[in-house]
Symmetry: C2
Subunit: 381 residues, 2 copies
């Protein structure tokens, strides 16, 4: 999978490009809203389109357990099942198997785990993850890896990395040996791990890029390590990844993190933050996050952001949103999520434009200055 029309900012490593999928083109850098269980929480496909989302993410682990891949396969794939006709990416299920399961048993070639829902026993492996992701039918699938926990000793990371590289090679083999089950092409991304050990990150990046993946992800970050380490590892890896293929930093992040990571050459992101924060009344603005539940907004009849064109800002005041949170009216979960997803899409679009204008460095400087002046900044989740 080539990243087309690639343009790199002259003063940073920021890139703008275009990814082609059978469910439409994706302008990069791109943020992918997370639709864990077949829905981006509170938002319909129409809402997502109104926010200009180009691609969303689904979670293999959750969808495998409920409704199960058999039903999604019968529906004609995840796109059809959930009514989303733009691009989609699924993860491998590995992250949840490791993070939601205390009782998982890792063997050489598979993981035996218990459902967090009912304790029933299941098995995930490179081959099974690929089978499931074929049934789901996302445009971009992810290799089955082990997300190394943080903290981990160097030796633990070495052991984990050896397994991850073996599993990813097996994922690629299984993926290439199977055909696209629906009428569109599926792609497979490899994932670079290595904790926060520069030499192991380098080894992993070299090992994974030696394989014939369609794109590359940086995994195992944003899991509790210092932010400086996250960006150090990101830059180390993007310097090794092939320029012509897309790069995806998994699970990141806050607006300021996206801006920083774009400046280091990342093209793709996903994170639950905009929707999760929305449900807690934290709305993103160019002046930093705004805690709309605060009492000082009770008679503030201005929108969250005057210049914002989202449905929420065009129609409702901070006072109304605050009231809806106050009385637990679920409508506000959608209105807040709509705004935050819209903001994230605007943010990516603004970055893309700055890159194309060869002005990303100064754009980034201005963004950071304005964003961090927010009174609410210290409270941000």
């Amino acid at each position: 999978m080539e990243i087309n029309e690639l343009h790199t900012d002259p003063d940073t490593k920021a890139r703008a490009g275009l990814l082609q999928t059978d469910h439409g083109d994706i302008l990069t850098p791109v943020f992918m809203p997370v639709g864990t269980a077949g829905a981006v929480k509170s938002l319909s496909p129409e809402d997502l389109k109104s926010s200009r989302a180009q691609i969303i993410l689904g979670n293999t682990y959750h969808l495998y357990l409920r409704p199960g891949t058999e039903i999604i396969h019968q529906a004609g794939g995840l796109h059809k099942f959930i009514g989303w006709d733009r691009a989609m990416l699924t993860d491998s299920g590995g992250y949840q198997v490791f993070s939601l399961n205390d009782l998982n048993k890792i063997e050489d070639d598979r993981v035996i785990f218990r459902s967090h829902l009912d304790g029933s026993q299941h098995i995930l492996s490179p081959q099974i993850s690929m089978e499931i992701q074929r049934d789901l039918g996302a445009d971009i699938c992810m290799a089955f890896d082990e997300c190394t926990p943080f903290p981990a000793t160097e030796n633990e990371v070495i052991i984990s990395l050896e397994r991850t590289h073996r599993w990813e090679a097996a994922s690629l083999n299984a993926f290439r040996a199977s055909a696209d089950p629906y009428s569109h092409k599926q792609h497979l991304f490899g994932i670079v791990q290595g904790g926060i050990y520069p030499e192991l990150r380098r080894q992993s990046a070299e090992a994974i890029t030696a394989l014939d993946f369609d794109g590359f992800a940086i995994g195992g970050l944003s899991v509790g390590e210092p932010k400086s380490a996250m960006f150090e590892m990101t830059e180390l890896v993007t310097d090794i990844l092939p320029a012509q293929q897309p790069r995806y930093l998994m699970g990141v992040g806050k607006p300021e993190d996206l801006v920083e990571a774009v400046s280091l050459g990342v093209d793709m992101f996903d994170c639950v933050l905009p929707t999760r924060n929305a449900r807690h009344g934290i709305l993103f603005t160019w002046d930093g996050p705004l805690h709309v539940k605060a009492g000082r907004f009770k008679a503030d009849f201005t929108p969250v952001t005057e210049s914002c064109t989202c449905y929420t800002c065009r129609n409702f005041s901070r006072a109304y949103l605050r009231h809806l949170f106050n009385v637990n009216e679920i409508l506000v979960l959608r209105l807040a999520s709509l705004h935050n997803i819209h903001f994230y899409q605007e943010l990516m679009s603004a970055m893309r434009q700055a890159i194309l204008n060869n002005q990303f460095a100064s754009w980034k400087h201005d963004f950071m200055l304005r964003y961090h002046q927010s009174k609410d900044q210290s409270e941000v989740a």
Copy 2:
């Protein structure tokens, strides 16, 4: 307030007409979705318009407590506060004061009650209810009455009725003595009470219609009495109400109840049933209610109703809705509510058309036959 273009079905008492408000015309018979605390649960104004809702209801008691009338007044009224530019009706607050408060104290000219939220003490009276409803600014306001509980002895109803008639006269005086606070005209409806005692209902209807109200409601029904009594009282009252003014049966009801009451000459309805049932997975169809959570729908990839033009039916399957309920994705609360409100609007529209075609009796016969054939009928909430 005249009901214009009034057309009465030749074989029943069913009426079709048109109500003019400064927030648009209302074709009758009409169903008003309930927006208790400033939102029809889970639905945006855009959603309501897509369902062709012409008027919604707000609850004075809830809005008085939160956010308070001062904030709504500052916002420029409830329409502006919640972003709804079509017609609106508010109740008097009396129903909640009596039904949500065990500790209320009824005096001759007022009720002292405690907030169900924090126990704080408040007073409601005809004058105060009118003041609040002026601040809210609904197109149609309701007189402050006592909703006589069921069951009640004849003597209890007589005492309650005497008070209700006094309060309603005081409501009318207070309302007429105050000016429209915003740039649109407000109207006041009187409410007929009388429990299920025909003679008391008759007395109440005569007493209330002797006053200069803009329209008339039938209150104190759908509170636990037998359905036969509800319809008997409804017909007794509609036979007395002036033909040229709108008639509103408060708190009703199920689709089959709306059809029956329309045949008895009712023009307006409100009920939480379509939205509440939606949130419990009960979706209304012409073939009766459908319990979409049921296991038999897990691989049913047809929409709730093939012929339905709502967003939900145009885009999603029963299997997907069932899955969303199963995994507690809040998106489904909106998708289900959208469908049910759309169904209720379609139902009212179909009744109106049948009345205009002078075919309401046969339409009603066909509707009831088809609606009650549903397998799910016995389960309906």
